[in-house]
């Protein structure tokens, strides 16, 4: 106890030196924690956003080739899959059976390419609840030719005015008196609000291809407009999309399943594969792991096979490339941190050598008063330990404050960048295990750095030390 008190007093006695060393440690830890927090948050956002876009954590697909070699996706029967899910005790939080296609939406002489998501509205009540509608309703959409488009899509199709007028209009407004400018803006906003309502029922044509590659054109009426941070899809009734894509009325081509814990997806995928392979002609896991769905299918295009091939994959495989980029960033940050730590360790060793040199008479006095060699060594080691703990905790606090500020900012970035954000905000992740390991690493290395000077202090002869004067 006395040893620790002396160590703390020594730290306090040489404030400037302690602040400099502790500050250097805190800075290094702050950089590491910030990079980890931001990168981890971005990865979490990607997982969240991607799972919403891809509609699931785990995906199941049935693939066959027609006589012309064209790949056709169509799940004919999912009874065995559902049975397997049940038998394995997997409890999905949500299951989506969708028909997905790519199409060009056309209205008012404008066109844009988007994903088409055919929804069985009566089954997918969660989607209906979660879509953030700004106009219209999904009440009677089942079984109709209704389409649900995003605000952005409605703007691009000229169904509603843009949120802000273009640069030429704005520049003309800027020359007006303030009151008139505000009136113009208010009229613009009112026109947009009105258009959001009147655009319900407007016709949108959709150019698409059947699963066999034939051109087709569907005519839809806008049923509702939704707002979202990304708008990859226009939603519609699955049966009508099936008709347009030449799939069976109750068929679908994508099975997506959300799990309660994202961390379970690799294990769950492997368990499902092991059972499904007993019934289905599955694409082997070594051709699936770490590869996106398109890559898997491109390989199948080159293969010759008859009948159906089945794929079970997950989001980790889809975003493997993105994950590896961010892992590399984390590795670089860690390497930088280690380099910084090495420099700090050299600084600590040198500082403690000077400290031992400066306190030679003090060490002699302590030894003369009966302090054992081990206790003298421990005074310096405790001093180093307190320094590392204070520095590390300081780094945690600093990074916590900065991360909280970063997380609170609403970033106005390009639409594509929204993919890395959660509703416009940076998601911040703090991993307690990383914090504990960092603390242990820094403490260990600091003790190591202080060990040689501490042992030197312990070995001093009391009489010799007392005689020394600098």
């Amino acid at each position: 106890m006395v040893v620790r008190r002396i160590a703390l007093r020594n730290l306090n006695r040489q404030k400037r030196r302690s602040i400099l060393l502790g500050g250097a440690l805190a800075f290094g830890i702050m950089v590491l924690m910030m990079v980890n927090g931001v990168v981890g948050g971005i990865l979490k956002s990607i997982e969240l956003n991607f799972s919403n876009i891809a509609v699931g954590h785990i995906f199941f697909a049935e693939v066959e080739k027609n006589e012309k070699g064209r790949i056709i996706y169509s799940i004919k029967d999912d009874a065995f899959l559902m049975d397997t899910i049940k038998k394995l005790g997997i409890e999905p939080t949500y299951i989506a059976r969708r028909t997905m296609a790519q199409g060009t939406l056309v209205a008012n002489g404008e066109s844009l390419s988007r994903g088409l998501s055919g929804v069985e509205w009566k089954q997918e009540t969660e989607l209906a609840k979660n879509l953030d509608l700004v106009s219209g309703s999904l009440k009677d959409i089942a079984g109709t030719q209704g389409i649900v488009i995003s605000i952005n899509q409605a703007e691009k199709l000229n169904l509603i005015p843009k949120k802000e007028p273009d640069a030429t209009v704005k520049s003309a407004w800027s020359k007006l008196p303030k009151a008139e400018k505000e009136a113009k803006q208010a009229a613009w906003d009112a026109a947009r609000e009105a258009a959001l309502k009147t655009s319900i029922g407007e016709t949108v044509l959709v150019e698409l291809q059947t699963v066999h590659g034939q051109q087709n054109l569907g005519e839809f009426q806008v049923k509702a407009i939704y707002q979202a941070q990304y708008d990859f899809y226009a939603y519609m009734d699955r049966a009508y999309l099936n008709k347009l894509t030449d799939l069976p009325e109750n068929g679908y081509n994508q099975f997506g399943m959300f799990l309660k814990n994202y961390s379970d997806i690799d294990k769950t995928t492997a368990r499902l594969f092991d059972v499904l392979k007993t019934r289905y002609n599955m694409v082997p896991m070594d051709k699936v792991n770490g590869r996106g769905f398109d890559t898997i299918v491109n390989d199948l295009k080159k293969e010759s096979f008859s009948g159906s091939k089945f794929i079970i994959t997950n989001l980790n495989n889809e975003i493997a490339n993105i994950k590896s980029i961010f892992s590399a960033v984390q590795m670089v940050a860690f390497a930088f941190f280690m380099l910084l730590l090495l420099v700090i360790m050299v600084g600590i060793t040198n500082t403690f050598r000077i400290v031992v040199f400066e306190r030679t008479r003090e060490i002699g006095t302590m030894r003369a008063l009966g302090m054992q060699r081990k206790e003298v060594r421990n005074v310096f080691l405790w001093e180093a330990l307190f320094l590392s703990i204070i520095g590390t905790l300081g780094g945690f606090v600093l990074s916590g404050i900065l991360l909280a500020i970063l997380g609170a900012i609403k970033w106005n970035v390009m639409a594509e960048m929204n993919f890395f954000l959660n509703k416009g905000h940076l998601m911040i992740t703090i991993n307690p295990m990383v914090m504990i390991l960092t603390l242990a690493l820094v403490a260990g290395l600091t003790l190591l750095a202080a060990l040689i000077p501490a042992r030197r202090a312990a070995k001093m002869e009391p009489a010799l030390a007392l005689r020394t004067s600098y």
Binding site: G69, T210, G213, Q214, Q215, D246, N298, K301
Partner: protein
């Protein structure tokens, strides 16, 4: 006497109807034979001008090679400079798009737009009307100064890109002057006009094609073919390595 008049009229009507019903199998085969190059290679320079409402016209120039016998086609874009070197390669039913920047080939489709222009990749591939389509209905019309047959064709197979085709065919030489393309849901998608043809070693090839997009109202495309040749080309032209080589 009266009892002979009605049957006579019927007989005359039937005879004239029979005389005016064309042999569609012969005509469609003739069209295919005239416009496809099964005995030779074909090459030309193409210019695709696309006009979209409210936008400047876009112009793409490309070199175009075809070997219909082997179902092969290559198109290498020459202009604009930003797209120079981009290319399409058809081998049988597969179509690849080559991007010289990434040096990668990606699967494309005959139904896709040709390099974001108003034209479709299928506009440049050979046609097999007599194989792919059956006649649904036919009639007669006049298009400008030409007497034409009109014929509505339906795809026999689900893999045929355009499910419905209406053709205006000159009666005197079987050349297609106008074409309407219909979707599976029988909506008019595009209208093509071929005002004039050039002859190449007994084959006919358009001098120019005008395309009107009936879905994206106001979008028009003009495709011009010049420097047409049927000289034999090396086999290596129809390969991925050729496309990589021309970009070095």
């Amino acid at each position: 006497m009266k009892k002979f008049v009605f049957p006579l009229i019927l007989l005359l009507a039937a005879t004239s109807a029979f005389a005016e019903t064309p042999d569609w199998n012969r005509i469609l085969t003739h069209i295919d034979d005239m416009t496809n190059f099964n005995d030779n290679d074909f090459s030309s320079e193409i210019t695709v001008v696309t006009a979209k409402p409210g936008e400047d016209n876009t112009v793409i120039q490309a070199r175009y090679f075809r070997r219909d016998k082997a179902k092969q086609m290559v198109i290498v874009i020459l202009k604009p400079d930003v797209q120079k070197g981009q290319a399409y390669l058809q081998q049988d039913d597969d179509l690849w798009f080559y991007d010289p920047e990434s040096r990668k080939f990606a699967f494309s489709s005959m139904k896709d737009r040709f390099s974001d222009s108003g034209a479709q990749n299928s506009d440049f591939s050979s046609v097999q009307l007599h194989v792919d389509y059956s006649v649904e209905s036919s009639g007669e019309d006049k298009l400008g100064k030409f007497d034409v047959w009109t014929v509505m064709l339906r795809a026999k197979d689900k893999s045929v890109a355009v499910p419905g085709l209406k053709l205006w065919i000159r009666k005197d030489n079987d050349l297609v002057l106008k074409q309407e393309q219909y979707s599976l849901s029988n909506r008019l998608l595009r209208t093509l006009a071929i005002p004039s043809y050039q002859t190449v070693s007994g084959h006919f090839f358009p001098v120019m094609m005008l395309e009107v997009d009936n879905v994206k109202v106001g979008e028009k495309t003009q495709i011009t073919f010049k420097d047409v040749s049927i000289a034999k080309l090396p086999d290596s032209v129809y390969s991925k390595s050729y496309l990589e080589r021309v970009n070095q």
